[in-house]
Protein backbone atom coordinates (compact mmCIF):
# COMPACT_ATOMS: atom_id res chain seq x y z
CA UNK A 1 0.00 0.00 0.00
CA UNK A 2 1.35 3.36 -1.04
CA UNK A 3 2.16 5.96 1.54
CA UNK A 4 0.69 9.41 1.59
CA UNK A 5 3.42 11.95 0.97
CA UNK A 6 1.73 15.00 2.45
CA UNK A 7 -1.19 15.35 4.80
CA UNK A 8 -2.52 18.75 5.83
CA UNK A 9 -4.11 19.23 9.23
CA UNK A 10 -6.17 22.39 9.55
CA UNK A 11 -7.40 22.65 13.13
CA UNK A 12 -6.92 25.14 15.96
CA UNK A 13 -7.37 22.56 18.69
CA UNK A 14 -3.90 21.84 20.05
CA UNK A 15 -4.86 18.62 21.75
CA UNK A 16 -6.58 17.26 18.68
CA UNK A 17 -3.58 18.12 16.54
CA UNK A 18 -1.22 16.50 19.05
CA UNK A 19 -3.23 13.30 19.27
CA UNK A 20 -3.89 13.10 15.56
CA UNK A 21 -0.24 13.51 14.72
CA UNK A 22 0.63 10.76 17.17
CA UNK A 23 -2.04 8.48 15.78
CA UNK A 24 -0.98 9.12 12.22
CA UNK A 25 2.68 8.52 12.94
CA UNK A 26 1.76 5.23 14.58
CA UNK A 27 0.19 4.06 11.34
CA UNK A 28 3.42 4.86 9.48
CA UNK A 29 1.29 5.60 6.43
CA UNK A 30 2.04 9.30 6.08
CA UNK A 31 5.39 10.87 5.25
CA UNK A 32 4.81 14.50 6.18
CA UNK A 33 2.15 16.38 8.14
CA UNK A 34 1.64 20.14 7.70
CA UNK A 35 -0.40 21.76 10.45
CA UNK A 36 -2.25 25.07 10.43
CA UNK A 37 -4.46 26.53 13.13
CA UNK A 38 -6.71 28.52 10.82
CA UNK A 39 -8.05 28.43 7.28
CA UNK A 40 -6.19 31.53 6.14
CA UNK A 41 -2.73 30.12 6.79
CA UNK A 42 -3.66 26.81 5.16
CA UNK A 43 -4.94 28.62 2.09
CA UNK A 44 -1.79 30.73 1.88
CA UNK A 45 0.31 27.58 1.97
CA UNK A 46 -1.69 26.04 -0.88
CA UNK A 47 -1.41 29.21 -2.96
CA UNK A 48 2.29 29.47 -2.28
CA UNK A 49 2.90 25.88 -3.38
CA UNK A 50 0.57 25.99 -6.33
CA UNK A 51 3.25 24.92 -8.78
CA UNK A 52 4.91 22.56 -6.36
CA UNK A 53 3.08 19.22 -6.53
CA UNK A 54 5.62 17.69 -4.21
CA UNK A 55 4.52 19.84 -1.31
CA UNK A 56 0.79 19.83 -2.02
CA UNK A 57 -1.21 17.53 0.26
CA UNK A 58 -3.15 14.52 -0.97
CA UNK A 59 -5.34 14.68 2.11
CA UNK A 60 -6.65 17.63 4.08
CA UNK A 61 -8.25 17.15 7.50
CA UNK A 62 -10.29 20.29 7.96
CA UNK A 63 -11.89 21.58 11.15
CA UNK A 64 -14.93 23.83 10.93
CA UNK A 65 -14.59 26.02 14.01
CA UNK A 66 -11.42 28.06 13.64
CA UNK A 67 -10.49 31.68 14.25
CA UNK A 68 -9.74 34.17 11.49
CA UNK A 69 -11.07 31.90 8.73
CA UNK A 70 -13.21 28.90 9.54
CA UNK A 71 -13.69 25.66 7.61
CA UNK A 72 -16.57 26.84 5.44
CA UNK A 73 -14.77 30.01 4.45
CA UNK A 74 -11.68 27.95 3.64
CA UNK A 75 -13.73 25.65 1.38
CA UNK A 76 -15.23 28.61 -0.45
CA UNK A 77 -11.84 29.98 -1.33
CA UNK A 78 -10.40 26.52 -1.91
CA UNK A 79 -13.01 25.78 -4.55
CA UNK A 80 -11.94 28.79 -6.59
CA UNK A 81 -8.24 27.96 -6.27
CA UNK A 82 -6.56 27.02 -9.51
CA UNK A 83 -4.17 24.17 -8.78
CA UNK A 84 -3.26 21.39 -11.18
CA UNK A 85 -3.58 18.71 -8.54
CA UNK A 86 -6.51 20.23 -6.72
CA UNK A 87 -8.92 17.64 -7.93
CA UNK A 88 -6.82 14.91 -6.43
CA UNK A 89 -6.83 16.48 -2.99
CA UNK A 90 -9.29 14.73 -0.73
CA UNK A 91 -10.79 17.02 1.88
CA UNK A 92 -12.22 15.44 5.00
CA UNK A 93 -14.17 17.68 7.32
CA UNK A 94 -13.35 16.68 10.89
CA UNK A 95 -15.49 18.45 13.40
CA UNK A 96 -16.85 18.16 16.89
CA UNK A 97 -20.11 19.62 15.61
CA UNK A 98 -23.11 17.34 15.75
CA UNK A 99 -25.30 19.84 13.96
CA UNK A 100 -27.26 18.21 11.15
CA UNK A 101 -27.03 21.51 9.25
CA UNK A 102 -23.26 21.16 9.06
CA UNK A 103 -23.53 17.58 7.85
CA UNK A 104 -26.02 18.43 5.11
CA UNK A 105 -24.04 21.46 4.06
CA UNK A 106 -20.98 19.27 3.65
CA UNK A 107 -22.96 16.95 1.38
CA UNK A 108 -23.61 19.80 -1.03
CA UNK A 109 -19.92 20.50 -1.57
CA UNK A 110 -18.16 18.49 -4.21
CA UNK A 111 -14.77 19.33 -2.73
CA UNK A 112 -15.62 17.43 0.44
CA UNK A 113 -14.85 13.73 0.38
CA UNK A 114 -16.34 12.91 3.75
CA UNK A 115 -17.74 14.42 6.91
CA UNK A 116 -16.31 12.92 10.08
CA UNK A 117 -17.46 13.67 13.59
CA UNK A 118 -14.75 13.75 16.20
CA UNK A 119 -13.42 11.78 17.91
CA UNK A 120 -12.18 9.41 15.32
CA UNK A 121 -10.20 6.39 16.09
CA UNK A 122 -6.95 5.07 14.79
CA UNK A 123 -8.95 2.46 12.93
CA UNK A 124 -10.98 5.04 11.06
CA UNK A 125 -7.86 7.00 10.24
CA UNK A 126 -6.13 3.95 8.82
CA UNK A 127 -9.20 3.12 6.77
CA UNK A 128 -9.28 6.64 5.39
CA UNK A 129 -5.65 6.58 4.35
CA UNK A 130 -6.05 3.17 2.74
CA UNK A 131 -8.83 4.55 0.57
CA UNK A 132 -6.52 6.91 -1.24
Amino acid sequence: MKNIKNLMLVDDDEIFVYLTKRTISETSLVDRIEEFDNGQDALDFLKHNRENPDRLPEVILLDLNMPIMDGWQFLEEFSSLKTPTKNRIRVYICTSSISPDDASRAKTMSEVTDFIIKPFTKGKLTEMIKEI
Binding site: F16, L19, N38, P67, I68, D70, Q73, S96, S97, I98
Partner: protein
Protein backbone atom coordinates in the same frame (compact mmCIF):
# COMPACT_ATOMS: atom_id res chain seq x y z
CA UNK B 1 -101.88 57.31 3.62
CA UNK B 2 -102.31 54.45 6.02
CA UNK B 3 -99.16 52.86 4.63
CA UNK B 4 -97.03 55.91 5.24
CA UNK B 5 -98.11 56.06 8.85
CA UNK B 6 -97.24 52.40 9.27
CA UNK B 7 -93.93 53.01 7.64
CA UNK B 8 -93.21 55.93 9.96
CA UNK B 9 -94.20 53.93 12.98
CA UNK B 10 -91.99 51.03 11.98
CA UNK B 11 -89.11 53.41 11.42
CA UNK B 12 -89.59 55.19 14.75
CA UNK B 13 -89.60 51.94 16.63
CA UNK B 14 -86.53 50.43 15.00
CA UNK B 15 -84.21 53.38 14.38
CA UNK B 16 -82.89 56.59 15.89
CA UNK B 17 -84.40 59.42 13.86
CA UNK B 18 -83.75 63.17 13.76
CA UNK B 19 -84.86 65.80 11.30
CA UNK B 20 -83.05 69.10 10.87
CA UNK B 21 -83.68 72.09 8.66
CA UNK B 22 -81.23 73.04 5.98
CA UNK B 23 -79.15 75.01 8.50
CA UNK B 24 -78.77 72.01 10.79
CA UNK B 25 -81.23 73.07 13.46
CA UNK B 26 -83.14 70.14 14.97
CA UNK B 27 -86.85 70.26 14.20
CA UNK B 28 -87.90 66.73 15.15
CA UNK B 29 -86.54 63.78 17.13
CA UNK B 30 -88.01 60.39 17.92
CA UNK B 31 -88.03 58.55 21.23
CA UNK B 32 -84.99 56.45 20.43
CA UNK B 33 -82.95 59.57 19.79
CA UNK B 34 -83.90 60.90 23.19
CA UNK B 35 -83.14 57.59 24.82
CA UNK B 36 -79.63 57.28 23.41
CA UNK B 37 -78.65 60.94 23.69
CA UNK B 38 -80.14 61.45 27.13
CA UNK B 39 -81.82 64.70 26.12
CA UNK B 40 -85.54 65.41 26.22
CA UNK B 41 -87.26 66.58 23.05
CA UNK B 42 -87.57 70.07 24.52
CA UNK B 43 -83.80 70.22 25.08
CA UNK B 44 -83.16 69.21 21.47
CA UNK B 45 -85.72 70.99 19.30
CA UNK B 46 -84.40 74.33 18.14
CA UNK B 47 -80.79 73.39 18.96
CA UNK B 48 -78.02 73.04 16.41
CA UNK B 49 -77.37 69.34 15.78
CA UNK B 50 -73.82 69.96 16.97
CA UNK B 51 -75.15 69.46 20.47
CA UNK B 52 -74.32 65.76 20.14
CA UNK B 53 -70.91 66.39 18.60
CA UNK B 54 -68.10 64.62 20.53
CA UNK B 55 -65.24 66.41 18.81
CA UNK B 56 -63.78 63.09 17.70
CA UNK B 57 -64.06 63.42 13.95
CA UNK B 58 -61.59 65.63 12.09
CA UNK B 59 -62.77 68.74 10.29
CA UNK B 60 -62.36 67.18 6.82
CA UNK B 61 -64.76 64.41 7.81
CA UNK B 62 -67.52 66.82 8.86
CA UNK B 63 -66.93 69.10 5.88
CA UNK B 64 -67.20 66.07 3.61
CA UNK B 65 -70.49 65.11 5.19
CA UNK B 66 -72.01 68.57 4.68
CA UNK B 67 -70.73 68.86 1.15
CA UNK B 68 -72.37 65.54 0.24
CA UNK B 69 -75.78 66.27 1.68
CA UNK B 70 -75.83 69.91 0.65
CA UNK B 71 -75.42 68.67 -2.91
CA UNK B 72 -78.53 66.56 -2.51
CA UNK B 73 -76.78 63.23 -2.06
CA UNK B 74 -77.28 60.61 0.64
CA UNK B 75 -74.43 60.29 3.13
CA UNK B 76 -73.61 57.08 5.00
CA UNK B 77 -71.03 56.65 7.72
CA UNK B 78 -70.18 55.84 11.32
CA UNK B 79 -70.18 58.64 13.85
CA UNK B 80 -69.09 58.99 17.43
CA UNK B 81 -71.42 61.21 19.44
CA UNK B 82 -71.69 62.47 23.00
CA UNK B 83 -74.74 62.05 25.21
CA UNK B 84 -76.00 64.59 27.75
CA UNK B 85 -74.08 62.89 30.60
CA UNK B 86 -70.86 63.05 28.60
CA UNK B 87 -70.80 59.37 27.72
CA UNK B 88 -69.85 58.26 24.23
CA UNK B 89 -71.92 56.28 21.72
CA UNK B 90 -71.30 55.17 18.15
CA UNK B 91 -73.99 55.20 15.49
CA UNK B 92 -74.21 53.87 11.99
CA UNK B 93 -75.72 56.89 10.19
CA UNK B 94 -77.61 57.57 6.98
CA UNK B 95 -78.49 61.19 6.23
CA UNK B 96 -81.10 61.78 3.54
CA UNK B 97 -81.59 65.28 2.13
CA UNK B 98 -85.11 66.30 1.07
CA UNK B 99 -85.09 68.60 -1.95
CA UNK B 100 -87.52 71.40 -2.80
CA UNK B 101 -88.80 72.21 -6.27
CA UNK B 102 -85.58 74.10 -7.03
CA UNK B 103 -83.53 71.02 -6.16
CA UNK B 104 -82.13 72.50 -2.97
CA UNK B 105 -82.29 70.71 0.37
CA UNK B 106 -84.81 72.12 2.80
CA UNK B 107 -84.46 69.41 5.46
CA UNK B 108 -82.22 66.50 6.39
CA UNK B 109 -83.43 63.24 7.88
CA UNK B 110 -80.81 61.33 9.83
CA UNK B 111 -81.52 57.64 10.45
CA UNK B 112 -79.14 55.95 12.85
CA UNK B 113 -78.55 52.66 14.67
CA UNK B 114 -76.53 52.08 17.80
CA UNK B 115 -73.24 50.28 17.10
CA UNK B 116 -71.49 51.19 20.33
CA UNK B 117 -71.05 47.59 21.42
CA UNK B 118 -69.69 46.57 18.03
CA UNK B 119 -67.18 49.42 18.11
CA UNK B 120 -66.06 48.44 21.57
CA UNK B 121 -65.58 44.89 20.29
CA UNK B 122 -63.55 46.11 17.31
CA UNK B 123 -61.26 48.21 19.50
CA UNK B 124 -60.77 45.31 21.86
CA UNK B 125 -59.82 42.98 19.02
CA UNK B 126 -57.40 45.54 17.65
CA UNK B 127 -55.71 45.85 21.04
CA UNK B 128 -55.52 42.08 21.48
CA UNK B 129 -54.06 41.72 18.00
CA UNK B 130 -51.38 44.26 18.72
CA UNK B 131 -50.56 42.50 21.95
CA UNK B 132 -50.40 39.16 20.16
CA UNK B 133 -48.03 40.53 17.53
CA UNK B 134 -45.82 41.97 20.26
CA UNK B 135 -45.79 38.71 22.15
CA UNK B 136 -45.01 36.73 19.04
CA UNK B 137 -42.06 38.94 18.30
CA UNK B 138 -40.81 38.53 21.86
CA UNK B 139 -41.20 34.78 21.65
CA UNK B 140 -39.39 34.62 18.32
CA UNK B 141 -36.56 36.57 19.85
CA UNK B 142 -36.42 34.34 22.89
CA UNK B 143 -36.50 31.30 20.67
CA UNK B 144 -33.60 32.57 18.62
CA UNK B 145 -31.67 33.14 21.81
CA UNK B 146 -32.43 29.61 22.92
CA UNK B 147 -31.30 28.12 19.63
CA UNK B 148 -28.13 30.22 19.75
CA UNK B 149 -27.54 29.07 23.28
CA UNK B 150 -28.01 25.40 22.41
CA UNK B 151 -25.61 25.74 19.52
CA UNK B 152 -23.07 27.34 21.77
CA UNK B 153 -23.44 24.56 24.31
CA UNK B 154 -23.06 21.82 21.74
CA UNK B 155 -20.15 23.45 19.98
CA UNK B 156 -18.18 24.72 22.88
CA UNK B 157 -18.66 22.02 25.43
CA UNK B 158 -18.41 19.06 23.14
CA UNK B 159 -14.99 19.90 21.77
CA UNK B 160 -13.08 19.88 25.07
CA UNK B 161 -15.02 16.83 26.22
CA UNK B 162 -13.92 14.96 23.14
CA UNK B 163 -10.36 15.93 23.85
CA UNK B 164 -10.57 14.61 27.38
CA UNK B 165 -12.07 11.41 26.10
CA UNK B 166 -9.32 10.98 23.54
CA UNK B 167 -6.62 11.73 26.08
CA UNK B 168 -8.06 9.16 28.47
CA UNK B 169 -8.10 6.60 25.67
CA UNK B 170 -4.49 7.38 24.94
CA UNK B 171 -3.55 7.13 28.60
CA UNK B 172 -4.95 3.65 28.70
CA UNK B 173 -2.74 2.66 25.80
CA UNK B 174 0.44 4.25 27.11
CA UNK B 175 3.17 1.77 27.77
CA UNK B 176 5.90 3.86 29.32
CA UNK B 177 5.86 6.37 32.14
CA UNK B 178 7.32 9.26 30.21
CA UNK B 179 4.62 8.91 27.61
CA UNK B 180 1.95 8.67 30.27
CA UNK B 181 3.22 11.84 31.98
CA UNK B 182 3.17 13.70 28.70
CA UNK B 183 -0.41 12.78 27.88
CA UNK B 184 -1.52 13.36 31.45
CA UNK B 185 0.02 16.82 31.42
CA UNK B 186 -2.17 17.76 28.51
CA UNK B 187 -5.36 17.06 30.37
CA UNK B 188 -5.34 19.82 32.96
CA UNK B 189 -5.53 22.76 30.52
CA UNK B 190 -8.38 21.11 28.68
CA UNK B 191 -10.32 20.51 31.88
CA UNK B 192 -9.71 24.10 32.95
CA UNK B 193 -10.89 25.38 29.61
CA UNK B 194 -14.02 23.27 29.81
CA UNK B 195 -14.75 24.54 33.28
CA UNK B 196 -14.28 28.12 32.18
CA UNK B 197 -16.69 27.83 29.28
CA UNK B 198 -19.19 26.00 31.42
CA UNK B 199 -19.10 28.70 34.09
CA UNK B 200 -19.51 31.38 31.48
CA UNK B 201 -22.57 29.64 30.08
CA UNK B 202 -24.10 29.20 33.51
CA UNK B 203 -23.50 32.85 34.27
CA UNK B 204 -25.11 33.88 31.01
CA UNK B 205 -28.20 31.86 31.87
CA UNK B 206 -28.35 33.62 35.23
CA UNK B 207 -28.04 36.97 33.52
CA UNK B 208 -30.87 36.11 31.17
CA UNK B 209 -33.12 35.13 34.04
CA UNK B 210 -32.21 37.96 36.33
CA UNK B 211 -34.25 40.52 34.47
CA UNK B 212 -35.38 41.95 37.74
CA UNK B 213 -31.85 43.15 38.39
CA UNK B 214 -31.80 46.58 39.88
CA UNK B 215 -30.70 49.47 37.69
CA UNK B 216 -28.43 52.02 39.34
CA UNK B 217 -27.93 55.65 38.45
CA UNK B 218 -24.48 55.49 36.99
CA UNK B 219 -22.16 58.37 36.35
CA UNK B 220 -20.47 57.15 33.17
CA UNK B 221 -17.28 59.11 33.66
CA UNK B 222 -16.75 57.67 37.14
CA UNK B 223 -17.53 54.16 35.92
CA UNK B 224 -15.02 54.43 33.09
CA UNK B 225 -12.37 55.85 35.44
CA UNK B 226 -12.89 52.97 37.82
CA UNK B 227 -12.36 50.24 35.25
CA UNK B 228 -9.42 52.13 33.69
CA UNK B 229 -7.56 51.62 36.94
CA UNK B 230 -7.25 47.95 35.98
CA UNK B 231 -6.00 48.80 32.51
CA UNK B 232 -3.55 51.43 33.61
CA UNK B 233 -0.36 49.36 33.28
CA UNK B 234 -1.37 48.14 29.82
CA UNK B 235 -2.48 51.58 28.68
CA UNK B 236 0.76 53.11 29.85
CA UNK B 237 2.83 50.41 28.17
CA UNK B 238 1.21 51.05 24.81
CA UNK B 239 1.04 54.80 25.27
CA UNK B 240 -2.70 54.56 24.72
CA UNK B 241 -4.78 57.73 24.59
CA UNK B 242 -8.27 57.32 25.92
CA UNK B 243 -10.75 60.16 25.64
CA UNK B 244 -14.31 60.36 26.90
CA UNK B 245 -17.16 62.60 25.78
CA UNK B 246 -20.33 61.91 27.67
CA UNK B 247 -23.16 63.84 26.05
CA UNK B 248 -25.35 61.88 28.44
CA UNK B 249 -23.39 61.83 31.70
CA UNK B 250 -25.72 59.70 33.80
CA UNK B 251 -27.63 56.56 32.81
CA UNK B 252 -29.87 54.10 34.57
CA UNK B 253 -28.32 50.63 34.21
CA UNK B 254 -27.02 47.86 36.48
CA UNK B 255 -23.57 48.95 37.58
CA UNK B 256 -22.11 45.46 37.23
CA UNK B 257 -23.15 45.25 33.59
CA UNK B 258 -21.91 48.71 32.70
CA UNK B 259 -18.53 47.90 34.21
CA UNK B 260 -18.49 44.69 32.22
CA UNK B 261 -19.34 46.56 29.01
CA UNK B 262 -16.59 49.13 29.47
CA UNK B 263 -14.15 46.52 30.63
CA UNK B 264 -14.69 44.21 27.68
CA UNK B 265 -14.76 46.91 25.04
CA UNK B 266 -11.67 48.70 26.34
CA UNK B 267 -9.89 45.38 26.71
CA UNK B 268 -10.70 44.51 23.10
CA UNK B 269 -9.59 47.89 21.86
CA UNK B 270 -6.25 47.57 23.63
CA UNK B 271 -5.75 43.94 22.71
CA UNK B 272 -6.35 44.47 19.03
CA UNK B 273 -4.42 47.68 18.69
CA UNK B 274 -2.56 48.30 15.50
CA UNK B 275 1.13 47.44 15.92
CA UNK B 276 2.24 50.50 13.96
CA UNK B 277 0.41 53.23 15.75
CA UNK B 278 -0.45 54.61 19.15
CA UNK B 279 -3.83 53.24 20.24
CA UNK B 280 -6.48 55.93 20.44
CA UNK B 281 -9.79 55.05 22.05
CA UNK B 282 -12.82 57.35 22.11
CA UNK B 283 -15.69 56.65 24.46
CA UNK B 284 -18.90 58.57 23.89
CA UNK B 285 -22.48 58.71 25.01
CA UNK B 286 -25.27 60.58 23.33
CA UNK B 287 -29.01 60.69 23.23
CA UNK B 288 -30.88 59.37 20.20
CA UNK B 289 -34.56 59.03 19.48
CA UNK B 290 -34.31 55.38 20.45
CA UNK B 291 -32.59 55.84 23.79
CA UNK B 292 -28.99 56.33 24.77
CA UNK B 293 -26.13 55.34 22.49
CA UNK B 294 -22.73 54.43 23.92
CA UNK B 295 -19.80 53.98 21.63
CA UNK B 296 -16.21 52.84 22.00
CA UNK B 297 -14.14 53.63 18.94
CA UNK B 298 -10.55 52.54 18.35
CA UNK B 299 -7.91 52.90 15.66
CA UNK B 300 -6.76 49.30 15.89
CA UNK B 301 -6.62 46.32 13.56
CA UNK B 302 -10.29 46.40 12.70
CA UNK B 303 -12.44 43.34 12.00
CA UNK B 304 -13.48 41.93 8.64
CA UNK B 305 -17.19 42.17 9.34
CA UNK B 306 -18.17 40.63 6.05
CA UNK B 307 -16.51 37.47 7.23
CA UNK B 308 -17.19 37.65 10.92
CA UNK B 309 -20.36 39.68 11.45
CA UNK B 310 -22.47 36.65 12.37
CA UNK B 311 -19.90 35.30 14.77
CA UNK B 312 -18.81 38.49 16.48
CA UNK B 313 -20.59 37.93 19.76
CA UNK B 314 -20.55 34.17 20.00
CA UNK B 315 -18.23 32.27 22.29
CA UNK B 316 -14.69 31.59 21.24
CA UNK B 317 -14.80 33.32 17.92
CA UNK B 318 -11.64 35.27 17.56
CA UNK B 319 -10.72 37.38 14.58
CA UNK B 320 -7.06 37.88 15.03
CA UNK B 321 -4.19 35.70 15.98
CA UNK B 322 -3.58 36.80 19.48
CA UNK B 323 -2.26 34.92 22.42
CA UNK B 324 -5.07 36.04 24.70
CA UNK B 325 -7.85 35.90 22.17
CA UNK B 326 -10.19 33.63 24.05
CA UNK B 327 -13.28 35.37 22.77
CA UNK B 328 -15.44 34.95 25.86
CA UNK B 329 -15.83 38.63 26.74
CA UNK B 330 -18.10 39.83 23.97
CA UNK B 331 -20.51 36.95 24.45
CA UNK B 332 -21.14 37.91 28.05
CA UNK B 333 -21.38 41.60 27.21
CA UNK B 334 -24.03 40.88 24.59
CA UNK B 335 -25.98 38.70 27.01
CA UNK B 336 -25.98 41.44 29.62
CA UNK B 337 -26.92 44.23 27.23
CA UNK B 338 -29.77 42.23 25.73
CA UNK B 339 -31.04 41.14 29.13
CA UNK B 340 -31.66 44.85 29.76
CA UNK B 341 -33.49 45.23 26.48
CA UNK B 342 -30.56 46.93 24.76
CA UNK B 343 -28.59 46.23 21.59
CA UNK B 344 -24.92 45.86 20.83
CA UNK B 345 -23.24 45.87 17.43
CA UNK B 346 -20.05 46.86 15.71
CA UNK B 347 -18.84 48.71 12.66
CA UNK B 348 -15.34 48.26 11.42
CA UNK B 349 -12.81 48.82 8.66
CA UNK B 350 -9.98 46.30 8.61
CA UNK B 351 -6.73 48.14 9.02
CA UNK B 352 -8.41 51.32 10.26
CA UNK B 353 -10.26 50.41 13.43
CA UNK B 354 -13.61 49.52 14.92
CA UNK B 355 -16.50 51.11 16.72
CA UNK B 356 -18.67 49.16 19.11
CA UNK B 357 -22.13 50.57 19.78
CA UNK B 358 -24.33 49.85 22.76
CA UNK B 359 -27.86 51.18 22.71
CA UNK B 360 -29.74 51.19 26.00
CA UNK B 361 -33.26 52.20 26.77
CA UNK B 362 -33.96 55.34 28.76
CA UNK B 363 -35.40 54.98 32.21
CA UNK B 364 -39.20 54.84 32.24
CA UNK B 365 -39.17 54.67 28.47
CA UNK B 366 -41.42 51.63 28.53
CA UNK B 367 -44.26 51.32 30.96
CA UNK B 368 -46.20 48.09 30.61
Amino acid sequence: MENVEDYKHALDVSAIVAITDQKGTIIHVNDNFCKISGYSPAELIGQDHRIINSGYHPEEFIKGLWKTVANGKVWKGEMRNRAKDGSIYWVDTTIVPFLNSRGKPYQYVAIRSDITERKKGEEHIKKINEQAVRHTRELEYKNRQLVDFCNIVSHNLRAPLINISMLVDYLEQCTDDADRMEVQGKMRPVVDHLLEIFNELVESVQVRQDIGIKADNIHLGECLDRIMVGFDPQAREYGAEITAEFGVPVVSFPRKYMESIFSNLISNALKYRHPERVPRIEVQSRKTDRGILLSVADNGLGIDLQRHRDHLFKIRKTFHKHVDAKGLGLFMTKTQVEAMGGKIWAESTPGKGSVFFVEIKEKDHEEH
